[in-house]
């Protein structure tokens, strides 16, 4: 409604949409996705990478989608192992998908479809060599 968006960033339904995309992406690609929506303190890229590092042990397998709606800035940070499957070109493609949705005012839908793009690119044959 008004220009002030206090409280929750997403409705229950929008949040569910993002969580579903994360779950499906995780299941399809083995890469863990994490979405942060909020303002960056200081330069966005280092801040997003610090956030990514906070994921701890799962950070190398994780991709963090960092969205700063106020600054209209998007950062995709992929962990060292996740980068094998989500290369920077795929991240760029997902970023283009997301920003075009964001520019149209569709924040939650853009995040969800961006994760879908990332997961689609991260899909890879499982090679566990357990036999």
């Amino acid at each position: 409604m008004g220009p002030v968006l206090a409280g929750e960033a997403f409705s229950e339904r929008q949040r569910g949409e993002i969580i579903r995309a994360i779950q499906l992406g995780q299941r399809a690609s083995g890469v863990q996705f994490s979405v942060y929506v909020g303002a960056a303190e200081g330069p966005p890229r280092p801040y997003a990478m610090r956030r990514h590092a906070e994921l701890g042990a799962s950070a190398p397998d994780s991709v963090l989608v960092f969205v700063d709606p106020a600054a209209r800035n998007l950062e995709i940070v992929s962990g060292a192992r996740a980068r094998r499957w989500v290369n920077d070109r795929a991240a760029g493609l997902a970023a283009a998908t997301m920003t075009s949705a964001f520019a149209a005012g569709n924040l939650a839908g853009g995040i969800a479809s961006g994760i879908n793009v990332l997961a689609e690119h991260a899909r890879h044959p499982q090679s566990l060599h357990t036999g």
């Binding site: 299941r27 929506v37 991709v63 192992r81 520019a103 090679s127």
Partner: protein, 158 residues
């Protein structure tokens, strides 16, 4: 008609007079005919006590009632319509518009300690599970060890 028929016989001044007279006659005839035709409609309106059947003015209403009917009810109707129109978007919660101030709380979906469970899947291996130690054993042979700062990604603006 008159002027055209006598055009050759009468001089210009007389011809104009005849035409003006004919016009005056026609206009007054039309006005008179209209008055005669509509006169029955005015017959009963003379005087306050003369009314049509079923024309009952009833009791006069108070000022309060006037305000209620012509003020409160229309305003209430406007308010109701406004409510019906804007309620869905109010229920839907905040909506992002580019360039608009964003003051909502920051959210981390899949934050550390509150990971989104994948609900099981082909890749739900211990090495990739949450809180698992770095890859070990046989899996290490297929994937390089992760070194911090080896990550990638991209930046974009909109």
């Amino acid at each position: 008609m008159i002027s055209s028929r006598h055009g050759q016989l009468l001089p210009g001044r007389e011809r104009r007079a005849v035409r003006a007279g004919a016009r005056t006659l026609a206009v007054s005839a039309i006005v008179l005919a209209a008055a005669v035709v509509t006169s029955p409609a005015y017959a009963e309106t003379v005087g306050d006590d003369k009314r049509d059947d079923g024309d009952d003015p009833g009791a006069s209403i108070s000022t309060l009632e006037v305000i209620g009917v012509f003020g409160v009810i229309p305003i209430a109707a406007f308010a109701l319509i406004w409510l019906v129109v804007s309620l869905p978007s109010m229920m839907r919660g905040p909506r992002y518009r580019p360039g608009q101030n964003w003051t909502a709380q920051s959210q981390w979906i899949g934050a550390p300690g509150a990971e989104v469970s994948s609900g099981g899947g082909a890749y739900d291996t211990p090495a990739l599970g949450k809180g698992a130690p770095a890859l070990s054993g046989r899996v290490l042979e297929t994937e390089p060890p992760a070194t911090p700062g080896d990550g990638g990604g991209t930046s974009a603006r909109w």
